[in-house]
């Protein structure tokens, strides 16, 4: 099981800030993305966003990163703080 987190406009579009997600290891971020896309909209649009950013265990990550049980995977749009 991993934890998925959604922030800002993605959180609003999904009406969801977090969920538990079952994975079968070995598994990459890209594998999770493919499974989420099968849910259809609004996941499809969010995950197809060219500006989508990812973090695994609170560090910026890329889709090829491997995941293990207990990981935290976050999806968020580009940062606009300061």
């Amino acid at each position: 099981m991993i934890t998925l987190l959604y922030f800002a406009r993605y959180r609003e579009a999904l009406g969801l800030d977090s969920e538990q997600f079952s994975i079968t290891c070995p598994c990459s971020v890209q594998d999770v993305i493919e499974q989420l896309k099968q849910r259809g909209e609004p996941w499809l649009s969010i995950l197809a966003d060219s500006k989508l950013m990812l973090a695994v265990n609170q560090t910026i990550a890329t889709p090829d990163q491997a995941l293990t049980d207990g990981d935290e995977l976050a999806f968020f749009p580009p940062i606009t703080g300061g």
Binding site: L5, F7, A8, R9, R11, E12, K51, A55, Q58, T59, A74, F76, P77, P78, I79, T80, G81, G82
Partner: protein
């Protein structure tokens, strides 16, 4: 000697006079003090802005701010550095972010302070949503902010 580095993410306002006083207290080794204050503008991209909602990623935000402070301390001879970033509901002219640095000499303090705010804007996971007469909208990241942050990459 190691620098005193502090990062805070909070909903509460902060007092600039008090922050300056804290920065200077027991800090006679420093001859230069540089700070940056960011506040909510009442316009953006031609539209009126009455309030902002600032969201962040608890845990990652603090980790990134501490990493940036450590990087600043490694690159420049600074004695102290502090970042305060507010989250939650803010209105026009409310303070958003404070970055303050002390150093023996001004060049290091200026550079470290500018680096911290530029890097924070592109690396620390904060998101702004604006509210105005036109309704509400999530802000898009600016290419100019990305370009500013890239200037500091070695």
């Amino acid at each position: 000697m190691s620098s005193l580095l502090e990062a805070y993410v909070q909903t509460e306002d902060f007092d600039i006079t008090q922050e300056y006083q804290n920065l200077r207290e027991n800090n006679s080794e420093s001859g230069a003090f540089v700070s940056f204050l960011g506040q909510v503008r009442d316009f953006n991209e031609g539209d009126n802005v009455s309030s902002l909602e600032l969201e962040h990623y608890p845990g990652m935000t603090e980790a990134v701010l501490n990493k940036l402070l450590q990087e600043a301390s490694n690159r420049w001879a600074i004695s102290r550095a502090k970042i305060i970033h507010r989250v939650g509901a803010l209105k026009a002219s409310d303070k958003i972010v404070w970055v303050a640095v002390s150093s023996a000499h001004r060049a290091d303090a200026f550079a470290a302070c500018e680096f911290l705010i530029d890097a924070l804007k592109t690396q620390a996971p904060f998101w702004k949503k604006e509210r105005g007469k036109q309704g509400e909208r999530w802000l898009d990241a600016k290419d100019s902010d990305q370009a500013k942050a890239r200037q500091w990459m070695k």
